[in-house]
């Protein structure tokens, strides 16, 4: 009796010890988007929901601007530290190369993620990122100014010389044909050229060109595409101050002051333009359309365009809470969260979502965006995401800036890009 009581008491004590209330765990997350309220609110609300569903778990999020975030991560990860989850973009292959991020292939519910988004984050045999944000390169049209200039820029785009003529006609009317600015970003000035290139070459040859494969910058098709872009530029497409206009200013230039007929921009356009007018957003009565933009003659893929997976989350390979971190990401990988993202941010996501479910004042824009992407074939990532090192740097300086500014011509672009690999 005494022995059994003793054993029972020990067992009870062991049971009490083995079943503590709830073990406190803290997940840390470092993310870009410090100044993008809708995205911050989306992730914060997902974190609070996860905390409620998992008592004892807290998620501490630090919000950064992109450059300071990358610098902080580089230092922390090199020292074997860093947060459990952090913001990354698919071009940051150095994380995978150095084994700093966890392979999420068996940890996330990939059924709820778009196949193209999975492909973008694929590296060797693994899948490393949770693709939250995605965007396409679109040609936005200011319908009022297009009418004023007497041109029509239809959804399916304008082919060959007709686009050059339209640009000339707009410029002759004293209106800027295409707003653009490259002062603070390494990519928007290249939208015109690389969207023409991908249409001219098709996605495979285009990827080969960017990655230094068999297709070279001396390829005759590349020259034809660059010649076409140059004709558009020389027709006066861009403002003379393109080199000093910032990305945000280009938005305002397009819809408000002084106004331009077109703006080639990522489909993150609404994050700035749909703010209230006194905060730099487009006017309330602004009539917007989306077009396929200029289509070169002899295009191998007239409906090709770029889709870029932007902000994503990865899990630190050194995290002590890797499964918990993956569980948090999984909590965001649901169609409901996908729709919530669309509705809040009006920009695509790698989570499977259904824009037709969205109603209200934002529905019309999302349907317009969906229509502009009907039947599109995608190349994944803008060039600066597909290129690395010296080719990326040279591309930024030439195709993004000097070429659209009219400082250099087609021969210089070909020579410099060819020499960059």
């Amino acid at each position: 009796m005494t022995l059994s009581r003793t054993v029972g008491a020990l067992a009870l004590a062991a049971g009490v010890c083995a079943a503590p209330a709830v073990q406190a765990q803290e997940l840390t997350l470092w993310s870009h988007w410090a100044d993008q309220t809708a995205k911050v609110e989306f992730v914060e609300s997902a974190a609070r929901a996860f905390e409620q569903a998992n008592p004892g778990v807290t998620i501490k999020i630090n919000w950064y601007q992109k450059e300071p975030l990358y610098a902080a991560l580089k230092t922390a990860l090199t020292a074997g530290q860093g947060p459990d989850i952090f913001y990354a973009e698919p071009n940051q292959t150095e994380y995978m190369e150095n084994g700093l991020v966890l392979d999420l292939k068996s940890k996330l519910d990939w059924n709820n993620i778009e196949p193209w988004a999975i492909k973008v984050w694929g590296y060797e045999d693994g899948v490393y990122g949770f693709p939250l944000e995605a965007w396409t390169v679109e040609t936005y049209v200011n319908l009022a100014l297009a009418e004023k200039a007497g041109v029509e820029i239809p959804v399916e785009g304008v082919e060959g010389a007709a686009f050059v003529d339209a640009v000339k006609k707009i410029a002759a009317a004293g209106i800027t044909p295409m707003a653009q600015g490259v002062a603070d970003r390494p990519y928007p000035g290249a939208f015109l050229t690389h969207e023409i290139l991908v249409k001219k070459l098709g996605v495979d040859d285009y990827a080969s060109l960017l990655k230094g494969g068999d297709v070279k910058w001396t390829d005759p098709r590349v020259r034809e595409a660059l010649d076409y872009a140059k004709q558009i530029i020389d027709a006066g497409a861009f403002p003379p101050s393109i080199s000093s206009i910032k990305l945000g200013e280009a938005h305002r230039y397009f819809h408000t002051s002084p106004g331009a007929v077109m703006l080639q921009m990522g489909s993150f356009y609404p994050s700035r333009a749909f703010a209230s007018p006194d905060e730099g957003g487009q006017p309330k009565d602004f009539r917007l359309s989306i077009s396929n933009g200029p289509v070169p003659e002899g295009a191998a893929c007239p409906k090709c365009k770029t889709i870029a997976v932007g902000g994503s989350f990865v899990v630190n390979a050194a995290s002590e809470h890797a499964d918990l971190a993956a569980a948090f990401l999984n909590s965001m990988a649901t169609p409901e969260m996908g729709n919530k993202w669309l509705e809040a941010n009006l920009v695509q996501t790698g989570i499977k979502a259904d824009p037709s479910q969205i109603t209200g004042d934002k529905a019309a824009y999302l349907q317009m965006l969906q229509a502009a992407n009907e039947g599109a074939s995608y190349t994944f990532g803008i060039p600066v995401q597909q290129m690395q090192g010296n080719p990326r740097e040279v591309f930024t300086q030439t195709v993004n800036q000097a070429f659209p500014s009219g400082i250099i011509g087609v021969d210089e672009v070909i020579d410099m890009m060819n020499g960059a690999y």
């Binding site: 150095e94 150095n98 700093l100 101050s241 393109i242 080199s243 000093s244 090192g389």
Partner: protein, 306 residues
Amino acid sequence: MASHPANTGQDRDHANPPGVIAAFLFPALLVYAALTALPVLRTFYNSTHLVVPNRPSEWIGFTHYAKLWTDAIFWKAIWNTLTWAAVAPVLEVAVATLLALCLYAKVPFSRFLRVAWFTPVLMSYVVVGILWMWIYNYEWGALNTMLRAVGLGSLAQPWLGHPDTALASLIAVTTWMWTGFNMVVILAAMSSLPSEVLEAAELDNCGWLAKLWYVILPLIRPTLLNLIVLSFIGKMKIFDLVWVTTQGNPLWATETVSTYVYKRAFQWSTFDLGYPSAIAVIWFFIVLAGVLGLTALFRQQDKLEY
């Protein structure tokens, strides 16, 4: 006549106890070692190693240094920085001397002018950069607006957006920013000139220009030379202004060694800091050589002069 050599030594020891000296020196030395010496040594180490996370460092010798010879952007950055470091100090000190002379001659509103000319140096490079981006804006910037207003609209251009004008435009900005500081230092030097020398020159019927050339400038020359060396060092390190305004664009026309090191360290997708470290090491020796060269040159001239 008694002498006490032993006592002298004891007194010195008593006056300067090694323990106290060490106690005072240690914190400063510790900070210096941790925040200056160690990073410098680590930079030397990184430049000859492949340092990546999750792997032991690998000695690669002078591979990075060899690559630098064929790196066109590196040479462009060297050229731009040396141009800046050669031109800006001379401009700053020359203009500052003229402004200081105006104030020394007590032109009207000299008090106000002294404050106004000195103000730019109180602003950070970030603020100055944004300010001058507005001034240089092609469409509505003050510079082009003025050119158009006086009928010189054909000269209006995107000053920071064209390779032919971008570097010169930024040199103008640093000149604007630092001239006031140089002016105050030069004015202080002028104000402390021995009055008997200036009076003697006047008694000798020395004209204003001759007094300036043969008396004032030679006497303040050490100050001018120190300002030139300080400005030279500052321009060899310049980063903030370029980063805020052009980030090295267009076509690397404003790329400096510092911006290129930053790009290679933090914007090129790699964890290896070896290559940017090699650039930093090379640049360290170039700056050191420049400073030693200038110092030696000035010292030599001093010997000849006096």
